[in-house]
Symmetry: C2
Subunit: 346 residues, 2 copies
């Protein structure tokens, strides 16, 4: 390691005190313009930047944000993370990423780990296991000891904090109506995340739309799978024994798996069975046929989360918490025949 460059170095070089250098660098008006220029010139020449750790200790802020994400392989979360990283970087914040792997234990352990000053706040999407077991104490603890927290997508009503979501109920409700309008009469709902906050809302939206026109339609059917191995058995079996002409999937992979199963059983998509998935990305774009999906505006969710957290960090008084709803959008491709005017096609 090179000899370290500190305020002291600069001070010695200029024969002034450390505090003069510090103040000059921060542009304090206590200092003469001449001195400020002299100091700043030297600092630039030496390429000086303050030691962030020392600065953090003194200032009691780290410029670090802890991001807890269930699963980085999911396109949605990866895109959110991109948005978070980009926006955080723009505002001078670093992100410390924890991939919880949907595990309560890892989530709780890490929250506690960061309750001692290593980060300024949290951005989190709750692990599936946590949402199933409804154990939210770790979040409450973080908030109680004073850490700002922003939840996105998978949020908890029980926790009082800023939240960024899409209107899961309405987008699913509307999409289901679109499918009905396009002629589908036996619409089923499948996912692996029925127990999550968003999964529940999506089920409600789907069910509401079906119930509204229940005379014409088959009753709502919600299939839940624990993992994707189950699809091959359960969905396949269901299709054998029931009339189905549309499938709504509440997560990004379920739709693709459903599509493969439907394809392999020889059904024509979308003529015989329509399929809609959640989360846009490379996968639905490149399936055969390309999948109609609900674009959750992941990047925007990420950016909004960061900005909301930063605002919270910079405001002294505690204004009341907000839940911001990001507008989602149906992206129609070839797995449906909704084909209304004005809908984006890729």
């Amino acid at each position: 390691m090179e000899k370290k460059l500190t305020l002291k170095t600069l001070a010695k070089e200029l024969n002034v005190s450390v505090s003069t250098v510090s103040k000059s660098l921060s542009g304090s008006k206590e200092i003469s313009t001449a001195m400020k220029e002299k100091v700043q010139k030297l600092a630039k020449q030496y390429n000086y930047t303050p030691h962030p750790i020392a600065r953090s200790l003194k200032m009691r802020r780290t410029s670090n944000i802890c991001v807890l994400i269930p699963n980085i392989l999911a396109n949605f979360f990866a895109e959110v993370l991109m948005g978070i990283e980009e926006e955080a970087s723009k505002h001078g914040y670093n992100i410390i990423t924890i991939i919880t792997g949907e595990s309560y234990e890892k989530e709780a352990k890490n929250i506690h780990l960061f309750l001692n000053g290593a980060v300024d706040g949290f951005i989190v999407s709750i692990a599936k296991e946590t949402q199933e077991t409804q154990k939210f104490d770790h979040f409450q603890k973080a908030i109680d000891v004073g850490y700002p927290m922003v939840m996105f997508d998978r949020v908890a009503d029980e926790i009082h904090c800023d939240k960024i979501v899409i209107d899961d109920f309405n987008i699913t409700y509307n999409t289901t109506k679109d499918l009905i309008d396009s002629g589908c009469r036996n619409i089923i709902f499948i996912s692996t995340i029925n127990k999550t906050s968003v999964g529940k809302l999506r089920i409600k939206g789907y069910t509401a739309a079906i119930k509204e026109r229940k005379k014409e339609l088959a009753a709502p059917v919600v299939l839940e799978m624990k993992n994707f191995q189950e699809y091959k058995v359960k969905l396949s079996g269901y299709l054998d024994e029931n009339e189905v002409d549309a499938i709504i999937s509440a997560d990004e992979l379920s739709a693709v798996y459903a599509l493969n199963i439907v394809n392999s059983k020889g059904y024509k998509i979308p003529e015989e069975i329509s399929i809609v998935g959640f989360t846009d990305g490379i996968l639905p774009e490149n399936s055969t046929p390309p999948l109609t999906t609900i674009d959750q505006k992941a990047v925007k969710i990420g950016k909004t989360s960061v900005n909301t957290l930063i605002k919270r960090l910079n405001s002294e008084e505690s204004t009341s918490y907000t839940t911001q709803v990001i507008e989602a959008e149906l992206v129609e491709r070839q797995s449906t025949i909704i084909s209304k005017g004005g809908i984006k096609t890729t």
Copy 2:
């Protein structure tokens, strides 16, 4: 924020000095067993953990690792990040993730940003732009000022540091030979990353295998695309005017795009055209037909990177730099008819 819990708090409570508490907590044998137990009990009761920033300042180490990754939407990099996060977490390190977006500027800017003590070292896979322009000064600078660095996948021969790679030449060479053995005679190579270190090696491996049996085979053809829009035009055009019975793609998306184009032109896969891609994941598993790919063992690369960096951080003497080669594996699915014994099939 609650009243802060520091060594001082504990010291006051027990009527001992701060240093006694500190030493007790670290299990120093200078301290009597009785005192150590008393202190540790109280610390546990209060759930005390040392302030990491203060500790960092004193110890001159942060337990933070900066990870620079070109693109988090690529399955390969996402998996590497998973491996990194898991292993880092296990060893008490936090990871600060920078997504360079293949941009030299963002990469260089962030490296410089972290040269002042915010992290202990770097794990990096070089941005495409950086590899094209061959500007590596920022890496050299980081190493010069004393930061350990581990490069993975996209590495630079010009930079002297620890590296984790797969044997890109040989895996591509062997795969090309497999295709030849399976009867393919007009094998072309496509990718968007021909200018990266790994892209170059893969081209070499491909070319070497073809040249070895050039009498029977069409000459090597390497197509380069800047982006995926180009595929629709260039690859489609190429297929119209040339005999092609196998496509090797050096990146994970190219193979999927190629597959879609080949499908849409009505060629039978693999009977008329075989396709092999790089990087295993959800996408190739779920294309139609499922894609044969080269599994780059991304998670293992991530874990190995972390362990290599940590070893470097903990060793005083500077042992010579190593390049570790992780064993890649061909995963055969239905886009090829290589079908040799012993190859894993999913």
